[in-house]
């Protein structure tokens, strides 16, 4: 794991949180969209909060795909779950929401889960191939299919 890779993991956390918050903010302006009025969903993109939210979520998806190209799924998912904690902390310090003792316990559990997984290896040995198409495994799979 290089510094650049930790940066990508941080990007997943930050951009998914920011994207979701911006979408939620924008959809409050747009109001409820009924199933019988789906064009309303298209118009929602015109809302600057929604547009910015979508841009952030696209950035999140790019970071996520990048991380999955060099790390295990079971590493990336827990490692980036700090997003849940981030949302709560933003709510607490920026929006002055109360955080109950149970929620603090939840935050502690998630944080310790993140610590647990990130102290371990990021990829299963043998999965980190330079060119997967030429590895013996891939060839064996192609022979089978």
């Amino acid at each position: 794991m290089t510094f650049r890779k930790y940066l990508v993991l941080a990007g997943i956390t930050v951009f998914s949180t920011a994207g979701d918050s911006l979408l939620a903010r924008g959809m409050k302006d747009v109001g409820a969209v009924s199933l019988h009025h789906l064009p309303g969903l298209m118009l929602a993109i015109l809302n600057p909060w929604v547009a910015l939210g979508i841009l952030f979520l696209l950035t999140f998806f790019t970071c996520y795909m990048s991380a999955l190209s060099w790390a295990d799924l079971t590493y990336v998912l827990p490692a980036t779950s700090l997003a849940y904690v981030l949302v709560a902390l933003v709510g607490h310090f920026r929006l002055h929401e109360m955080i109950s003792p149970t929620r603090w316990l939840g935050i502690a559990l998630i944080a310790s889960g993140v610590g647990f997984v990130s102290a371990g290896p990021s990829i299963t040995p043998g999965h980190e191939r330079e060119n997967p198409h030429e590895s013996p495994d891939a060839i064996a799979q192609e022979v089978k299919s």
């Binding site: 190209s69 998912l77 709560a88 191939r129 891939a138």
Partner: protein
Amino acid sequence: MSEMFAWAAIAIIVVASTTGDVLLSYSMKRVGDVGEIWKRRGALAVIGRVLSTPTFPLGVAAMGVAFYSLLFGLSWGNLSLVVPASASLTFVANAVAARIFLREHVGRRRWIAALLVAGGVVLMAV
């Protein structure tokens, strides 16, 4: 009755998003380290390789199904039930699916991490 619909939606969300995550992870492992490809061949090569991997659009489609099920689930059930239940079950389902389909080595450390995060997500919604 609406409770049952909410749990049906949760089940669909968990299955769809796990399928999506597994397919996307599989696709990206086939593509290889995108940072390396970018350095050697440029950004267009990365985009080309990702889009030409057949399992990639399938993964995106599964994610789309999960997203729309979440929207429907939210219209039937409580936000405080649907979101944490589907999120925490997805963490556990992903650990199982990654072990079976991606042959990832899910050791004790990763199991504990998945369970801690899943439990934490539930507590944060209480």
